[in-house]
Amino acid sequence: MTTHRIPSRGRIDHARPVRFSFDGTTIEGRAGDTVASALLANGMHLMGRSFKYHRPRGVVTAGSEEPNALIGTRRGPGRFEPNTRATVQEIYEGLTTESQNKWPSLKFDVGAVNDRMAMLFSAGFYYKTFMWPKSFWDRVYEPIIRASAGLGKSPSEVDPDTYASRYLHCDVLVIGAGAAGIAAALQAGRSGAKTVLVDEGSEPGGGLLSEPSLEIEDQPAWDWLAGALGELRSMKNVRLMSRSTAIGYYHQNMIGLCEKLTDHLDRLPDGAPRERMWRGRAGQVVLAQGALERPLVFDGNDRPGVMLAGAAQTYLNRYGVSVGHRAVVATSHDSAWYTAFDLADAGVTVAAILDTRNDVAPDLLEAAKSRGIETLTGYTVTGTKGRLRVYSVRVNKVGNGKVGPARSLACDVLLMCGGWTPSLHLFSHTKGSLHWDETAEVFLPGHKAEACHIAGAGRGLWGMAAALNDGATAGAEAARAAGFTSQPASYSLAQDRAGRGVTHKELPTDLDPGKAKAFIDFQNDVTAKDIRLAVREGMRSIEHVKRYTTNGMATDQGKMSNMNGLTIAADAIGKPAPKVGLTTFRPPYTPTTFGAFAGYHRGGQFEVTRKTPIDAWAEENGAVFEPVALWRRAWYFPKAGENMHAAVARECTATRASLGIFDASTLGKIEITGPDAVEFLNRMYTNPWTKLATSRCRYGLLLGEDGYIRDDGVIGRLTSDKFHVTTTTGGAARVLNMMEDYLQTEWPDLKVWLTSTTEQWATIAVNGPNARNLIAPFVEGQDLSDAAFPHMSVAECTVAGYPARLFRVSFTGELGFEINVPARHGRALWEKLWEAGQTHDICAYGTETMHVLRAEKGFIIVGQDTDGTVTPNDAGLGWAIGKAKPDFVGKRSLARPDLVAKGRKQLVGLLTDDPTVVLEEGSQIVADPNQLKPMKMLGHVTSSYWSATLGRSIAMAVVEGGFDRMGDTLHVPMPGRTLSAKVSGTVFYDPEGGRLKL
């Protein structure tokens, strides 16, 4: 069945058949084949349908730039990938593949009716056709367009594969393992530089893999290649990476490399990731990306069997496949002549070589003649015939600007070459400038923005001798720039097939150019006349032409289409190409899986989840958790049959009645030490600290420079020079950074040092009338009586034998203590307290109960009751400002006219008229619910809870001029009803604070 295999050619293993399936049919290939080469070996060119017109399409290239042969690949459940390039996917036993964009079958596709209606689908048709009626866009047009557009099917199952990532450091990173890249890597490797050579292909060698007839250093090319690769592999300072695509070139020589590890294996090793993203940092980069062949633009240039000449040469020499039995070559560059010669020498009939140029090198003409190939110079191509495969090509002589009569040539493949485009993708990522080469009519690398060197065809050189020697020069330069010694080697080559060529806009025709389907962007179905239409309709910049026509916007990023699009747009506008400009290349170079970008960050590794030393106890005791910053915290502890409301009500009641225990370990903690510690606190916090006695604590309020509340917490003075500062859970890192920032940039003279101790301590809060009774038996070294250890005290003592910092503070309004012990003892202490607390009906409570209890007391939560626009006065915390202090962060802002103006939003209490209604947090507040919409909104509810203690709902809100509205009724419009509430103070429970004084 392998009708097109040439056993004497290729690097594949002709003795090892490999079977896979394509659209349900078993195909036999050879070990080393890609899906494309195996299908071609079986005479199959038709591999897909186009995106817009559903035209039958065959493979065009032999590389990652392939626009047509996009297939779905499957390897068991969950392992489905759409839009895989058949030219890149290596076959393995059992691989399942399918074509895309076809229904019911690849050979008969209903969607191809679009091709007949092509006149309706010209450039910009989306913008023109679906304009009326307007309301249809959302409901009718867009859903239909979305359903019928797109390439391939999205996978719908969870991906069972894993993805990896690593960092990579080297002196010299060489991108592209063709002739230039290998020569560069040899230079760098021999110099002793840590060298990495990467290549996207399955086998290093690049163009050398398609040029076996060369002789390098008196050896056959492939022998030299094997020797060079062997030398590279033998060097300890060199890493050679295949199937690794440099997807992006980022700042300061950071390169993203996506390595495919298992997509070519028939059996997946246990625990192996599918792909690995390398984040490479290179001292020097050598870009040896080569050049991409450019199609010719003529009517019917997309028919299956019409493909790039260079690809045919690769299929022949690398894969041992003849792409057809009777070839016609159409070219504007010498390179395709050599393809024709290789095919003829392998026994394939080459009916004719057509060259658009009149003056072709005599040796080429002679070589063609000696092989019996007809040569047609000064010709154009004006059409092809064949539905699922080309069977003839229409050609015309061009003379004196006139297209002569047509002639038809029978063929089963048409091999085209419109010149070569240097690959500038990665260079463009660096924002290096491009330079237009007038002679070659190509863009070349200009000014460099990174430490990189460009070698070979990537900077417009042609021929293997040029590539090798230029690669050696670039490699030596890179090695020297990295601090090593290197003199470039000089390579001698025989049978080098250097050449030259010209480029074209669409080829001239004797037929109506308005009816020509001369494709530029095969993947997005953009034709030459679409480009001209866009220019006629007013597009002048190539960026506008691109977006109007979608040229170059497919997943191949216009690797084949950009230059042809630009040439034609420039011609239509009447300006030279560099004046019209080139669109920007963006990473990734080729389509890259989401998995490779996500790496390890999925499931449990998706993001850091910080847990306290007591978290495991909470989990064992049925806690429901909530995320707070990166932490997960116990939210509430439901008993059997309890919902959240019931659990929280029980926890609140139990704490106020007797005793509650709470894990406060997540509180941020900063130890501030030094002779200037008190001065530093005076400057950072609004409160005065000088007179705070040792062993006492104070509530501290931290503002930004703008005067708005940033954080708060209790600060305890351990010695005259040492403070234990607490911050909010989410603010810990931010506050430490802010303090360090001021210390290092504003007050470097202060002798004070900051250390984060958040995780040094586990913190257990016990609250309730029995709090002292619980802990007293455990505490040694501190008298706990109210006289000796009053509210807002701190002591260093031991608790249950553990060294502890004991605070008498309360965030609940009840008698309260916070016990800090070294983190390793947190759970043990908790369990001891839990056991001892049973006699007091101890209740473990979570963050929700903590929030309710503090709201009953009117204590704010920074970030919930404040939103970055609330001043201390707005929050009713003016008492916390040290008015006699000369300065503190935010002080000057507090005097700004807008911050002292009347009518600012102020934090007040809200008591609903219906005590059973709990307002929704975030709901808007109005004075008159009957006013016209849009209503004047006075503020919003910041905190709202059911208070089991009070037997009613309570809420806090920021309200314009709230302090002057005490007792007023305000309204909260909600869907279906409007709620009313009276403005109150924020302290709902025990306003005298008597419960603290036990």
């Binding site: 298992t262 192996a272 590794q605 306290t612 040092w753 900051l754 995780e759």
Partner: protein, 181 residues
């Protein structure tokens, strides 16, 4: 030591072993670098003056983390003596010595593939670390302190609550190394 850590005390599969280290006395020292000699005398080990450089004598270890910052490690038995000595120094040379023994979890990573293992999460070129040096850096976005004890031997210290994330990723990477791809 911490039931939530995802590894056995000494896991051995793969080309790197990962061992949780027992508790140690650990301090964060901040002091004017001009007073380095006095601080060295107090600690009982010459403190390195260059960021990234370390010093050790078998009982004590110091790593310079910043222009005026060192992390000091010693066996637990030395804890009170070190704290007492620095307290005595404070009157003459004010500084900050804060105990962080429980803030950190320490893990020993050892084996021929240890550099590759660390490269999974650490953007710094650890191959360039001299034996006996280290750095405060990040691992998968989490702050860690790395110290190179030997050519194939590192100590990684990480804040307690971040340890499960870091160690879980290291364990994943160890399985990856074992898979050989």
């Amino acid at each position: 030591m911490n039931a939530q850590l995802p590894i056995a005390p000494a896991a051995s599969a793969g080309a790197v072993t990962m061992t949780l280290l027992p508790a140690a006395a650990r301090f964060n020292l901040r002091i004017d670098p001009g007073h380095l000699a006095a601080a060295s005398g107090t600690f009982g080990l010459a403190l390195p003056a260059v960021i990234g450089e370390g010093a050790q004598d078998g009982i004590r270890r110091a790593l310079c983390l910043g222009p005026d910052e060192w992390v000091l490690t010693a066996s637990e038995a030395k804890r009170d003596a070190i704290e007492g000595a620095f307290t005595a120094l404070y009157a003459d040379l004010p500084h900050s010595l804060v105990e962080i023994s429980d803030r950190e979890i320490a893990v020993r990573l050892e084996g021929p593939d240890v550099l590759t293992l660390i490269s999974v999460g650490c953007p710094v070129d650890v191959e360039g670390f001299a034996v006996g040096s280290g750095a405060r850096t990040i691992f998968d976005g989490v702050q860690v302190v790395l110290f190179r004890d030997g050519p194939e031997h590192f100590t990684l210290e990480v804040w307690r609550s971040f340890a499960p994330h870091v160690l879980d990723l290291l364990e994943t990477a160890r399985r990856e190394l074992a898979a050989g791809l």
